[in-house]
């Protein structure tokens, strides 16, 4: 059943809303943005054809309110809704509500979301297909006592996970039984706050695994293909920080076997649209089914760069009832892509979120550099949502070139006003183990203790900059000149070379 999409509502915010709007623009599909009270200034509001308010800042009162989003869709005459990732993207009731409202949900059918959205049900499907899995529970934990019993059976360390979650929220590694109760409490609290469902389950923790996932696409006619793997082992707080495609650990044979397992899981769930099957891979290249994410992933661009396929465009094609643009044999992988997540967090202060105003911003560009951003200079990052500002993606003919290019691009990236992950990303990319492809989910924890905010190499330059800034401030104050803060002296355009610290003739009275 084909249906042309004419107007699409994006039930999301930030960089992913911008990403979807861009794909729609390129296909001539009109876009409708929604925004909470604190998001009036957000970039997606500016880029969409229409934008409508949906309520107060907390997501539970805006981006998660199905009725309000559907009311906007109806009023605006949208015939499709893209959920992005997070928020309602893996909410089966939302997919159903869209169908009931006669609006195309750009994502899998509600039944597939249910089957896979419950990780415990997904594990049952994988087990029945004979896809290998990490030992653990197939059901959500009913009580602390049950958790204790199960954890003893499968043996410590164990991993607690949100049954209805993703993105590392509600995940806790538990080394000893005495830590289990507190871990359960905080995992449930985080899962409840993030997903509206506090259920958690547990499985044996695989120590220092690689986290490798397979991108799949399924169309309405039941064809399912895979687009190869993404290496996502560089994580902190179980949240990915650096991703790449392909993985230096995966050869053609392993790719084919993991791809086949992923396609079988997706097909068994009646999966349609873009999805990702996550695996843990141990040092002996054994892979274990972890979960399936029934949505577009944050890190989808690395697959796009290497396969040359626009995944959001594919999603829109599939939602319109069209067949996949390529068969499995037509999928090829060329070169290497790396993505770094630029988050508003202070990596030198426990990754503390750093909301606030971006007073200066210059994103890198140049050959094979892509910056998927949801922010702009002057924008204030609100404290209500996640910390992702932008994804920096580069492509290179091989991994070494891609690493060099990423290092170059990160060095160009300037963000002032909020703290970002960029300094640590630079150190990761420069690290000998990263360069050699020796990755595991323990990489960052091992590396971080040796990471300091500086190693003193540029101390004198920094002192000089600080002293000159102070000297100018003092002189301006003495002269009574405007813009003593160094920001407003040049008048209206802060982007122009706003004021000169030096230069003959700039200053009066000497």
């Amino acid at each position: 059943m084909k249906r042309k999409l004419r107007k699409l509502l994006i039930a999301n915010r930030g960089e992913i809303a911008v990403r979807v709007i861009r794909a729609c623009r390129e296909q001539g599909i009109a876009t409708v943005a929604v925004f909470s009270e604190v998001d009036r200034d957000a970039l997606h509001v500016q880029l969409a054809d229409e934008a409508h308010p949906i309520g107060p800042a907390p997501a539970l009162e805006s981006y998660l309110v199905i009725d309000r989003i559907l009311a906007v869709a109806r009023a605006a005459g949208a015939d499709a809704i893209h959920p992005g990732y997070g928020f309602l993207s893996e909410n089966a009731s939302f997919a159903e509500a869209c169908a009931d409202a006669g609006v195309t949900f750009v994502g899998p059918p509600a039944a597939a979301i249910r089957a896979m959205g419950s990780k415990t049900a997904a594990r049952t499907i994988a087990r029945d297909l004979g896809v290998p899995m990490v030992p653990g529970t197939l059901d959500a934990l009913e009580s602390d006592a049950a958790a204790r019993t199960t954890a003893r059976e499968i043996g410590y360390p164990v991993m607690l996970k949100a049954a209805h979650g993703g993105g590392g929220k509600g995940m806790r590694l538990v080394q000893r039984e005495e830590d289990l109760a507190e871990a359960l409490r905080s995992a449930r609290a985080e899962a409840g706050a993030a997903f509206g469902n506090a259920a958690v389950y547990l499985e044996r923790a695989v120590i220092e695994p690689r986290h490798i996932e397979i991108q799949v696409l399924g169309d309405a006619d039941g064809r399912v293909i895979h687009l190869g793997e993404r290496e996502c082992s560089i994580q902190r707080r179980h949240q990915k920080l650096v991703e790449e495609c392909p993985s230096s650990f995966v050869d053609a044979d392993l790719r084919a076997r993991m791809g086949d397992a992923a396609c079988r899981v997706a097909a068994a769930a009646g999966y349609v649209n873009a999805g990702t099957v996550e695996f843990l891979v141990d040092a002996e290249r054994n892979f274990y089914f972890l979960e399936m994410n029934t949505r577009l992933q944050v890190e989808h661009p690395v697959t796009e760069m290497v396969t040359g396929m626009d995944l959001v465009a594919e999603q829109l094609r599939i939602a319109a009832g069209e067949p996949l643009s390529r068969g499995q044999d037509d999928v090829t992988w060329r070169g290497w892509a790396i993505e770094c997540r630029v988050n508003a967090e202070d990596p030198f202060a426990g990754w503390l979120p750093s909301p606030g105003t971006i007073t200066a911003l210059r994103a890198p560009s140049g050959p094979w550099v892509r910056d998927d951003s949801g922010v702009y200079e002057g924008y204030t990052i609100p404290r209500f949502y996640d910390t992702l500002m932008s994804k920096l993606i580069v492509w290179g003919a091989d991994r070494a070139i891609a690493c060099d290019r990423m290092a170059r691009a990160l060095a160009e990236y300037r963000v002032v006003g909020v703290r970002t992950t960029i300094p640590v990303l630079e150190r990761i990319i420069a690290h000998p183990d990263f360069r050699a492809g020796r990755l595991s989910t323990a990489f960052l924890e091992r590396m971080l203790p040796a990471v300091h905010s500086n190693d003193g190499r540029h101390r004198d330059v920094a002192i000089l900059a600080a002293v000159i800034a102070e000297y100018e401030r003092g002189r301006r104050a003495a002269l009574g000149a405007p813009g003593a803060d160094g920001q407003s002296a040049a008048g209206h355009d802060p982007r122009a070379v706003a004021w000169r610290l030096s230069g003959a003739g700039t200053w009066t009275g000497r």
């Binding site: 985080e190 030198f348 909301p355 200066a360 540029h458 900059a465 600080a466 003092g474 160094g486 000497r510």
Partner: protein, 180 residues
């Protein structure tokens, strides 16, 4: 020096203080830092972003004020630098003095909502104990005691919204510095 007035500053990084002399000379700066003297050309490229040429070598430094200190980022390194005129520095440091009150209080480093308070007044805590949890940006952020001490005051309760800088917990006597 073309008649420009040289000003002496003290720049403190960590517990190291250095005297820096600076003079403006025909739109350039002459900076003396320890044994070295440089001719420096500085432009503000963007608000808080400085392009610096030191003997022809190009650097870009981000400079922002934060709680009385200058935070400078250059080439992926970050420095917190307190810059004072030398006379002021001498006056301030001559009086000596102990640790500031700030060392005994846990203040909210960011706005958010208190999701849990793990201690009560009178509780003895050890280094690494959880004091409280702030939910912000979809994360539960745990704050732990840096060193052992006794809780004197708890000024917040679960569910309460807090702003950056709000005092959350005050530590009582005993050991030094309970900054979490």
């Amino acid at each position: 020096m073309d008649g420009a007035i040289a000003v002496k500053y003290v720049a403190t990084v960590g517990n190291e203080s250095r005297v820096v002399e600076i003079a403006d000379s025909n739109g350039r700066y002459r900076v003396t830092l320890g044994e070295s003297e440089w001719a420096v050309d500085v432009r503000a490229a963007m608000p808080g972003v400085y392009s610096i040429l030191i003997d022809g070598v190009s650097y870009v430094a981000d400079v922002v004020d934060r709680e009385g200190a200058c935070v400078v980022e250059v080439a992926g390194e970050r420095y917190e630098i307190v810059v004072e005129e030398q006379t002021r520095h001498i006056i301030r440091t001559r009086g000596g003095g102990g640790a500031g009150a700030g060392d005994r209080t846990l203040t909210a480093p960011l706005p958010g909502k208190i999701s849990r308070v793990a201690v009560r007044p009178g509780d003895a805590v050890s280094a690494g104990d959880i004091l409280l949890v702030i939910e912000a940006m979809k994360m539960e952020n745990e704050f732990r005691a840096a060193v052992a001490g006794t809780v004197a005051e708890v000024r917040v309760a679960p569910g309460q919204a807090v702003n950056a800088g709000d005092v959350l917990i005050v530590m009582g006597g005993g050991s030094d510095g309970n900054r979490a």
